[in-house]
């Protein structure tokens, strides 16, 4: 029986808009009604444009309206992207042929799939080019809806700079000029959102994985030095070990449920198992589950989340504010979009050394606060 109670993840249209709006220099048009426009405009905080269709446009055609907006934006932006929405896609309006010049066009109506599918479809249209003279590596997997996006970009730049590696293009939080001069190599910040540009050199999600990625870069590029990374890895690793050891002297390991995209969720589960011997009840993933040593299930609706939590109640929850409300009795660590009802201003990484340090800090503090609250 089909029962999608309170859908928790945005649609393909939003994914496509997220990709384009991350590239400065692209004017992004949502070809649809205001209802489709307001959601991405609200959550992405980027300038977006819309044809604001009404019923008459569907009856009499909306090409002229779209054409007018495209022509206006062509004078303001280096490139224009058009993301088609559900109803124009159903009515089958042939908009591609009526548009002048080179337009980035994605037919990404919401009914075609989820956020990731739209994001990948838009990535395939980006006019990225490999520049043989571009130094360093591209950062991949940055998307504006991710609460770790800006933190991951900063942490990646910091660690790579310490290793003597520059950053070329950042997919997808970059200028249009930047992606036209991208490197032939990429490192991932979130493997779920690979743009496909550059040869993958590994991921920065996790300390060991970051070490492996830097070694891979050392073999490929000149002048890569791992000394700073190794020093920081040992120093921060010891600090995390010691904090976790102290926590476990007085408390049982947490029983944790993790809700997020697959790669982030699997990473957090491995870290919590490694440092705190946590029991991981479930990885509830918003996108397609991958291969994991933990029990994994899709969690794209509130009913699915509630069922997974009820089947094996956690005392620690990593997820969005939806999960926080679904399980108010557990300690909570903000981990995925959306994060309502809290103020989050600073850039927080999940990748690299500071990412794991931040994750374990948040987990330990949430558990300590929660247990203190239970004891009062």
């Amino acid at each position: 029986m089909r029962d999608c109670r309170n859908a928790l993840w945005p649609c393909a249209m939003t994914g496509a808009v997220t990709c384009f709006s991350g590239i400065r220099g692209i004017g992004t048009i949502i070809h649809g009604p205001s209802g489709c426009y307001f959601f991405p405009a609200t959550v992405l905080h980027r300038r977006l444009y819309c044809t604001f269709l009404i019923e008459e446009d569907i009856i009499f055609g909306a090409e002229a309206r779209l054409l007018e907006l495209v022509e206006r934006l062509q004078g303001e932006y280096e490139a224009v992207a058009v993301v088609n929405t559900c109803t124009p896609a159903i009515t089958g309006e042939e908009i591609r042929t009526c548009l002048p010049g080179e337009i980035l066009m994605v037919d990404s109506p919401g009914f075609l799939g989820n956020f990731e599918q739209g994001y990948h479809a838009a990535c395939r249209t980006l006019p990225a080019r490999t520049d043989p003279d571009a130094a360093g590596v591209n950062l991949d997997g940055l998307q504006l809806l991710d609460p770790f996006c800006s933190g991951n970009a900063l942490e990646a730049q910091r660690m790579l700079a310490a290793a003597g590696v520059g950053v070329a293009a950042r997919f997808c939080d970059e200028t249009l000029g930047g992606i036209r001069h991208s490197s032939g190599y990429s490192v991932h910040t979130n493997p779920d959102l690979s743009s496909g540009f550059g040869r993958g050199m590994g991921t920065l999600l996790g300390i060991d994985e970051t070490g492996e990625t830097l070694k891979c870069l050392e073999k490929t590029l000149d002048g890569v030095d791992l000394e700073a990374f190794e020093f920081e890895k040992e120093h921060v690793g010891n600090a995390i070990d010691s904090s976790c050891e102290k926590f476990l002297m007085r408390h049982d390991p947490p029983v944790v449920a993790i809700f997020s995209g697959f790669s982030y969720a699997d990473f957090a589960a491995r870290m919590l198992k490694y440092y705190l011997d946590a029991s991981v009840t479930i990885l509830g993933v918003r996108n397609s589950p991958g291969i994991s040593s933990f029990r994994t299930a899709e969690a794209c609706s509130l009913s699915a989340v509630q069922d997974l939590i009820a089947a094996d109640p956690p005392d620690l929850l990593l997820g969005s504010s939806f999960e926080r409300m679904a399980c108010p009795d557990a300690a909570f660590v903000p981990f995925t979009y959306p994060l309502r009802g809290m103020v989050r201003l600073k850039a927080r990484p999940l990748i690299g050394i500071q990412g794991i340090a931040g994750l374990m800090e948040d987990v330990l503090n949430a558990c300590l606060d929660h247990r203190a609250a239970l004891n009062t």
């Binding site: 999608c4 009604p33 209802g35």
Partner: protein
Amino acid sequence: MISSRTEGCTLTGALSVTSSVQDAITVIHGPDGCAHHNFSLLHALHFDNDQLILPSFLSSSLKEQEIIFGGEQALEDALAGALAGSPGAIFVLTSCVAAAIGDDVMAVCSEISGCPVVVIPSGGFLGGGFSDGVRSALIALSDLADGGDPNGTVTLVGEKNLEYEAEANYHEVRRLLGLLGVKVQLRFVRNIDVSAIAHLGSSSLNILREESLTDVGDVLEDRFGTPYLPSFPVGFEGTLTFLSQVADALNIGSREAVSSEMARQKEIIDQFSELRGRAINVCHPGGMPPLFLNELLELFDLQVKERGQNLPLPDPVPVGTSGISRMLSRWKRVLHA
């Protein structure tokens, strides 16, 4: 029907109403993306309004297959899922996708028994805009009401469930009605159960949140014979007029209430005397300045000048005496008066 292009989705307007019926479930006949957009929006706004509950939506999850072959089976499945939760009622909203593929939603819903099912033909943007959705939902939900003899109470119709000041505005109207000894029987529709809607026809007076809801007021007057006031009170003078109008409609005296409120307003005017004679510039995007603004300009001898201090004008406009008082506090802060 010409609707504002930038008003937002009919579905969102209708959901702002249906999601406030606490023991009902709303089925959105459309893709999951539409459900998520609206669920996420309401989730955020509920946090702003200190309502730590999640609205209950269920999506028929229309995908490409249903676009090609029709989505009626998907709706049937979703309705079965909704029924399994034994809700007080099921509200069915249609998205633009459902409208575009032409599903016969009424026929599917007519097969359901054991629970009231109310179809609200929202149709996403194909049904108009946000305010059309609000009106359609209020009118559709009134089908759950019975008639009844007028009992001297009032019903508030169409409170703006998504506005930040919704509860503050309700408390102000309730306070004013309290001066007349009048009680609010029903908030149609805000934080109520399905069973409460049955009382809709027994109030002696309906008070609409704003004048754009007069269609709804007319429908309720035709159906139950209940007269209505077109909006919540706006401005000092408007608030006194509101008291008189409520009293007239209910055949009760208003002299004491009006006198008491006038005294309160005088205190507030004195409290903000530092504003007198200040040079200001008030932004009121999209239309004529509201009447209550002229009243304030005169009362405080405010000088409107191009280079005057820019002052915020709330949208929607402040409700009652308390709303004006809070707006003046914000002006005072900006003017450092």
